[in-house]
């Protein structure tokens, strides 16, 4: 928890107190009833969780569906705890870690009254992992280790792997893996794109195009006593200032994605004890990608100079006051067991606390590479938080070693066209994931990844990644992860990290039972949320 000091100190203290109270009230008896109104920055393109990748689908639609397993809703901050939703207990893998047998709850019903069985779970994962022709499944690749899925009877669902993988369970716990009715999928695999019919805590009521999605309580929900709310209304509001004012004016209780520090401070100043703030490291990171196809960025010395010039530690302190970034880290989510420790980080280029020495080294490398008067354009998204702010900070950092940089900001679609076409010098981009799954999330740094725009070849890096994903031994995974990380952002500097994002959720204090997680995709079924009104 880190609040701005100064004139907002008193309000921040009030918010801190409110948060402590909120924790203490965790022991309170939840109240039933009420309609939760919350704002969502975007409207999802469709209702199909198997097809979409945006959080804008999760916030309004996840409450209608069940999943097989999920992050622990009572402890969503944990990056390693997974619990059953539709299964009865987390399975112990057999066959040397290659077979997972899930027992499915009895008596679960879809909202249309039909029974949910292992056959439906099986059909849903077939739809995700082995999609029929014409069905888009963007997370299919997350299950590269899966050989087959089957449902030998109505209560048993089996997943067989080609090899044991530490990335499997986190991939399975993705909040997008809604369980659909087999009967409907068999008739029309696209039905769920335009319709909603799940078995989750809320029943779909209505969608108003561009305006809102409404849900009401599922009286037959299988988790006893849940949900507490009578219903919810997810209101789409594109403008951030309006979302903040909506919370201030009580037209909405919360926005689940995250707001910048200034908005938090404004709300705390305006509402005092009526606002509670929850904060967390965010499983999103800002990455700088030099274009290795272009001179002089094909020279590792130039790439290394770019990362050496950054004073990440002071940048973190200063930028966290104005932008949704904070933690300094490597390629793995900070504080995860596979993440680099502070000492390990210090050994990587650009993470030294002796910034003077690092910048001298950067200048030497640039001179040696014949790029002492380097000038380039930084391609960036025309999105204020945190892209423009961090982009501006980067320009200043690079100026310290004599590099002249111009920032070219483009709307999202043209920006991605620039990246895809390789028409850039250096780009500031991002990697944002749901479940913290370092073995999967770090695939971004592979030369052949779909979202790798650096244009380099590095078979050694791919080999390290492959080895890391095929071992079940955590110590070995950690060792390989360090080697992979060192090669990606230190030795070869194909990409380098600026900061990890920081999630700030100020919400109305009457909203209880919702705990922040490291991702805006997680813990969003709203079943445990209640209103203290």
């Amino acid at each position: 928890m880190n609040f701005r000091r100064g004139k907002f100190g008193a309000f921040a203290s009030a918010a801190l107190l409110a948060l402590s109270l909120s924790s203490a009230l965790g022991a309170e008896t939840p109240k039933k009833g009420g309609i939760l109104k919350f704002v969502v920055p975007d409207e999802p393109p469709s209702f199909d969780g198997h097809r979409e990748t945006t959080f804008a689908l999760i916030h309004p639609i996840a409450p209608f569906y069940s999943v097989l397993i999920r992050v622990d809703p009572k402890n969503p901050a944990s990056t390693t705890d997974f619990v059953c939703d539709l299964c009865t207990e987390m399975p112990t893998p057999s066959d040397g870690g290659k077979t997972y047998t899930f027992k499915i709850r009895k008596g679960v019903k879809f909202h249309d009254g039909s029974a949910l069985t292992a056959k439906d779970v099986n059909a849903s994962f077939q739809h995700i992992i082995f999609p029929p022709d014409g069905v888009q499944s963007p997370r299919k690749e997350h299950f590269h280790m899966v050989e087959s899925v089957s449902a030998p009877d109505d209560e048993t669902f089996v997943m067989k792997l080609k090899y044991p993988s530490g990335a499997f369970l986190p991939a399975l716990a993705s909040p997008y893996h809604f369980i659909y009715a087999k009967a409907i999928l068999d008739k029309d695999p696209h039905w769920f794109e335009q319709n909603v019919m799940g078995s989750g805590p809320f029943v779909f009521e209505a969608r108003e195009a561009g305006a809102a999605v409404r849900g009401k309580r599922n009286p037959e929900y299988y988790h006893a006593g849940l949900p507490y709310l009578d219903g919810f209304e997810a209101i789409f509001a594109k403008t951030q200032s309006l979302r903040v004012q909506a919370i201030r004016g009580d037209q909405a209780a919360i926005e689940f994605r995250g707001l910048p520090p200034k908005s938090r401070d404004d709300l705390v100043a305006a509402l005092g004890k009526d606002i509670t703030v929850q904060e967390s490291d965010w499983n999103c990171l800002l990455i700088v990608t030099p274009n290795s196809r272009k001179k002089p960025f094909d020279d590792v010395r130039v790439r290394k100079a770019l990362t050496l010039a950054l004073d990440r530690w002071s940048g973190s302190r200063d930028l966290s006051k104005i932008a949704v970034v904070k933690s300094v880290g490597g390629i793995v989510f900070p504080n995860h067991p596979l993440a680099a420790t502070k000492e390990e980080l210090a050994a990587l280029a650009g993470y030294s606390s002796d910034i003077k020495a690092a910048r001298e080294e950067a200048k030497r490398l640039l001179k040696e590479a014949g790029a002492a008067d380097l000038k380039f354009t930084l391609a960036n998204r025309a999105v204020d938080q945190p892209y423009t702010i961090v982009g501006t900070w980067l320009i200043d950092q690079w100026k310290q070693v004599g590099i002249g940089v111009e920032q070219k900001m483009e709307p999202t679609a043209p920006f991605y066209a620039t990246l895809e076409n390789g028409a850039f010098d250096v780009a500031l981009e991002f990697n944002c994931q749901s479940v913290v799954n370092p073995l999967g999330d770090t695939s971004k740094f592979l030369p052949n990844a779909g979202d790798q725009y650096g244009g380099f070849k590095d078979p050694e890096l791919s080999k390290l990644y492959e080895a890391m994903n095929r071992t079940g031994d955590v110590a070995e995974q950690r060792r390989l992860m360090r080697a992979y990380e060192k090669r990606a952002i230190d030795e070869e500097v194909h990409n380098f990290i600026t900061f990890w994002w920081y999630r700030i959720i100020p919400h109305r204090s009457y909203l209880k039972g919702w705990n922040i997680s490291p991702s805006h995709y997680l813990n969003q079924d709203l079943s445990m949320v209640w209103l203290d009104k």
Binding site: P45, Q194, A211, T239, L242, G249, N431, G450, D451
Partner: protein, 324 residues
Amino acid sequence: MYFYVFKRLTLMIPTLLGAAALVFFLMRLIPGDICTLRLATGGGSINPNVVKACRLELGMDQPLLMQFWFFIKGLITFDFGRSMWTGRPIVEEVGLRFQLSLQVAIMATLTAIALAIPLGTISAVKQNTWIDYLVRAFSIAGVAMPSFWLGILIILAILITSKALFGSPWMPPIKYVPIWVDPVYNLSMLIWPALATGYRYSAVATRMTRSAMLEVLREDYVRTARAKGVFRHLIVRRHALRNALLPVITIIGIEFAFLMGGLVVTEQVFNLNGLGKLFVESVSNQDYTMTQALVMLVVAIFAFTNLVVDVIYAWLDPRIRYRR
């Protein structure tokens, strides 16, 4: 008159076709495409095969001229197809937004007329007095102040005032409910954007009314009426205002058409789920089919409004004749 209207309606066809060609090809000049956008902004890795399947599903693999032909064929048969972003029928997507935009446009127009005509007339009649200066200052401020900025000020003022008066801040609703479902809720949401846009709209119309009135008041027939001893208010109302209204009607017509699709920023400020917001979203999502349909709708509204303005001209001024 009937022939004139028929001729004007026929002339709309090349206008619509020209607009259709422009929007179709200009949209495709913007770099990037809808599939990359949909998959990339999720933040995870992008599978090139999924992007390919998406492009195939949306017909983006077809030759450009073929795509244009499908678009024109759809226009001719009034089949606007489906939004590439949501996959839903465009008519359904536009329907809800249209009623909101229409209501805001009507409310803003009524606000503008209610302010502009009396203020513009008084300002002209009382030229170079303090009343005139006051009205001119009011209208210049309205022209200079963007509606969205005024909208932000209105929201902040409501939040601050309500907190001062009632102890907790209140904000106008941010989700539209049709007026026949809940008139109070509906008006408590839409009155503020109508005022914000109506003020700017009225400012333009006030200045136009004033200058037109000043011109008419100097006409010979007005002087004659005065010489004949006609009451001043009758001269203003019957002889001057009716003739001065011609350019004002033009302004009101153009502004009304603009309000139907052009309240891009103001709609964002008040979270109005109108055509302007849909326009911005469909362009930024590279939703070609939706953007094309919206442009055609706005072009049709402009063309139709111009026709209505011309017909009102004839009604206001019998000297205007429409001949073959």
